[in-house]
Structures are given as structure tokens and as C-alpha cells.
């Protein structure tokens, strides 16, 4: 049977984070960018849970931090989507390329 160490989990988290990073830069829809941000947050959480399990299993610091990360990213996604709705009401569009009011 394969031995799955923490580096396998870290590699997976790196792949997920890179994909999220690409999505956050490449996509032009505000909702898609928020989805990519969620993916990045989840990759970081996965890292914390895995390392907590392998390195300090009894203190569970990684798990507690993951709970707080989850709280922050839930707040972020709620506020982000509310902002998207507010912008949609104003401009009838959620394209990031059209949010250029402050462009000089």
C-alpha cells in the first residue's frame, strides 16, 4: 500500500491553491473570482488540518485555526456576494472589466 505522508497533502493543497490563484486572475465574472478565492481558502485549510494531524495531533491547533479560517471565509463570501448584488443593482453588470469608474 502506498504511504501517504504530509507532503502528499501539501502537494494537493499547492495544486488547489495554484488553480484558485489562476482562476482569481483569469476569470472576468465577479462571482467566478469569489469561487476561486474559496478554493484558495480551502487549500490553506487542508494544509493546516493535515499538518496538525501529522505533527501535533493532541493540541489540534491546526483544526482550531481551520474553524476560524472557515468563519472568516464565510463572512468574506457573504459580504462579497452582497457587494456583487449591490454593484449589479447600480450598473446591471457583474463584469470586472466594466468596474472602471476609478480608472484614470
Amino acid at each position: 500500500m502506498m504511504q501517504v505522508g504530509p507532503s502528499a497533502f501539501m502537494a494537493l493543497a499547492a495544486v488547489l491553491f495554484s488553480l484558485g490563484l489562476y482562476g482569481a486572475v483569469a476569470r472576468k465574472s465577479a462571482v467566478m473570482v469569489l469561487m476561486s478565492l474559496e478554493l484558495m481558502a480551502v487549500a490553506v485549510s487542508l494544509n493546516m488540518v493535515a499538518l496538525s494531524r501529522f505533527v501535533t495531533p493532541t493540541e489540534m491547533t491546526g483544526q482550531v485555526f481551520t474553524i476560524f479560517t472557515m468563519v472568516v471565509s464565510a463572512a468574506e463570501i457573504g459580504l462579497g456576494l452582497a457587494l456583487v448584488l449591490a454593484i449589479y443593482r447600480q450598473t446591471r453588470s457583474i463584469e470586472l472589466t466594466r468596474m472602471d469608474t476609478l480608472k484614470g
Binding site: A8, K28, M60
Partner: protein, 166 residues
């Protein structure tokens, strides 16, 4: 003999998570992207189970697969004027790809160099009761601050998304 993570289960769940992420990035339909993200999140919940973080696994599926995905779908559907608007042109960003590749490469190099200092899984894994006790003793203050953050975010989200009364 230390415990190990089941390699086959890890491979399946990791493949599902990456498949969901890739599907989210390559599909042209925004609604399909939300469902791909949902699939990826459920796979990550399974990975938490493999790591014996049962509470986190359940909460993860509840929050990300349940609440966040439904919220995403609601906002997507509220901001579409026509059904055809959900299909978007293909968006490719060379700069984004380069950035992601460089970042991923650096992290992979770091993992290859330093990753396997700890390869064995310690045998003792505390259960959910221990996590709860820790959360309400040692982490009680951050826990309360987190609930305040959620409350403020809730009020602000309602405030921002309400109808303009001008």
C-alpha cells in the same frame, strides 16, 4: 506501527478535488462552475475524514457545500438577465497562468526539499469532544471574537444588499 492514510482513498479524493477545481476553471457556464466547486468541496470534506477530523469534515460540507454553494447559485441566478448569459466566452490569462505556475513550482520545490521530515502519522488522534473542550477553554476568546465577526458580516451583508430607497 504508526497509522497510515489509505493511499487508494487519498488518490480518489485528491483526484476528485483537482477534477472539481479544473472543471470549475474550464467550464464556460457559470452555474456549472458552481456545481464543480461543490464537487471539489465534498472531496475535501472526505480528505478531512481521512485525517480523522470528523467535526471539521461535517462542518466543511455543511458550510461550503451547503451554504456557500447555495449562496453562489442564488447570486448567479439573481444577476442573470437571460438564461444565455450564464454561458461566458472562454477567458484565458497568460499572466495568471505564469503566476500560478511559478507559485506552484516554488511550493513544490519547497515540499520536495523539506516535506518529508515527518512521514509517520502519530497514533493518538483526539476526538471531537477534545476539540470542543479545547475550543471553549484555551481558544474561548478567539471563539467569541469569531462569533462577533460573523454577526457584523451578517448585518453588513443585509445592509449592502437591501433595495435602494432613493
Amino acid at each position: 506501527m504508526a497509522e497510515t492514510v489509505n493511499g487508494i482513498a487519498f488518490a480518489i479524493l485528491a483526484g476528485a478535488a483537482i477534477l472539481g477545481a479544473v472543471g470549475m476553471l474550464t467550464t464556460r457556464n457559470v452555474i456549472h462552475a458552481a456545481f464543480w466547486l461543490l464537487e471539489s468541496m465534498i472531496a475535501v470534506g472526505g480528505l478531512y475524514l481521512l485525517l480523522q477530523a470528523e467535526y471539521l469534515a461535517v462542518v466543511h460540507v455543511l458550510v461550503y457545500a451547503g451554504a456557500v454553494s447555495v449562496l453562489m447559485l442564488f447570486v448567479i441566478m439573481l444577476t442573470l438577465r437571460r438564461r444565455e448569459d450564464s454561458v461566458r466566452p472562454v477567458e484565458v490569462s497568460v499572466a495568471g497562468a505564469v503566476m500560478a505556475f511559478v507559485f506552484g513550482g516554488v511550493v513544490f520545490a519547497a515540499i520536495a526539499a523539506y516535506g518529508d521530515r515527518v512521514a509517520e502519522m502519530p497514533e493518538t488522534a483526539p476526538d471531537t469532544a477534545a476539540l470542543g473542550e479545547l475550543l471553549f477553554t484555551r481558544w474561548a476568546l478567539p471563539f467569541e471574537v469569531a462569533s462577533l465577526v460573523l454577526l457584523i458580516a451578517l448585518v453588513a451583508a443585509v445592509w449592502w444588499s437591501r433595495e435602494d430607497k432613493r
